[in-house]
Amino acid sequence: MEPRLASLVIEGLKRAHVRFVVGLPDSMLAGVYVAAKKDHDIKYIQVTNEAEGASVAAGAWMAGGRSVLVMENSGLRAACEALARLGLVNGVPVTMLMGYRGDLGERFHWGVNHGMTMEPLLKALRIPYWIIDREKQIIPAVTRAVIHGVSSLYHTAVVFRTPLVNEGK
């Protein structure tokens, strides 16, 4: 994601009073990690896997610090057990921002399977999600995903597809 679009993600987060961006760096949303690290109002926490990231984000949220987990959509698979327990057992929300690897037109053979599993997993976990591909959708989708997490006490997700994200070469 180019810096101009990443700044819109940060703006959406700020409108929803998000203070923590927890992430495992990936190529598609690379600009978001950079922007979050640079921002003085946001604390960026780099984790080692997305399940750990879900727990860190949930802990910050429970203590009053709104948070999001940023990752590639393959991270959803790694995070499923944590998300299931945190969401279904405790009702502690994690809002996820993820790049849509494996979208129709995917150029990498290894990325195709990410697209095949993403939506079925989101549906299995009953996570409301928005798939967006236009610049003007970024701020409202990000803000509303966080707000919906707070009101529903359940996970939410925003999935960014091309041309909003870098496909990589």
């Binding site: 409108r15 923590f20 926490i45 860190v56 429970m62």
Partner: protein
Amino acid sequence: MKRYDLLKQLAALVTEEDLVVTSIGGVKPEWYSLMPGNGTMFADLLGCATPFALGVALNLPHRRVVALDTDGGMLFNLGALCTVGNESPPNLTVIVLDNERYEGVVGCPPTHTSGRVDLERMAAGAGIPCTATARSLENFVESAAMMLSDGQAGLLVAKIEPGVFKDIPPERAKESDGIEDKYRFMRHIERLEKITIRPRYVRE
């Protein structure tokens, strides 16, 4: 060293102003029977206690936070050690109750800490500034008291005997589920911090 005896000592070291996050397993009913207040989040996920406590600690840097983790929980998510090491919040103390067993599993099969794995050395290698291993109650009290007051992120491995405390009085038994636990902990933090975490109407 028995877990219940250790938890009794720990209960004397923490106050209602501190926040605690527990792992799953025998620690939950035992800790609840000793500290039935609302300052504990009883996590229901293996590998979650330490990263969850890290999130709490980073958001509330003025408040002491204790993760009551286990050998099984820590081994499930070793990357969390590295994130704790890199962030090193000075208000976080991780206590690993290491009985070298998956105690909730039939036959109590051993964990890797019963072999060559040393969680204290791994924590030190991950960059956690203060680490120790306690093999007696006296050791534990001394190290825990130090870590709770030294203003550094710390990890204390407590080598405990396998076994569950069976004499919890019925009035001290934990009956709540995960949702009730969440609300109690969240409302407790709202009162302590004078904040609203989950408002009736969520504004931009």
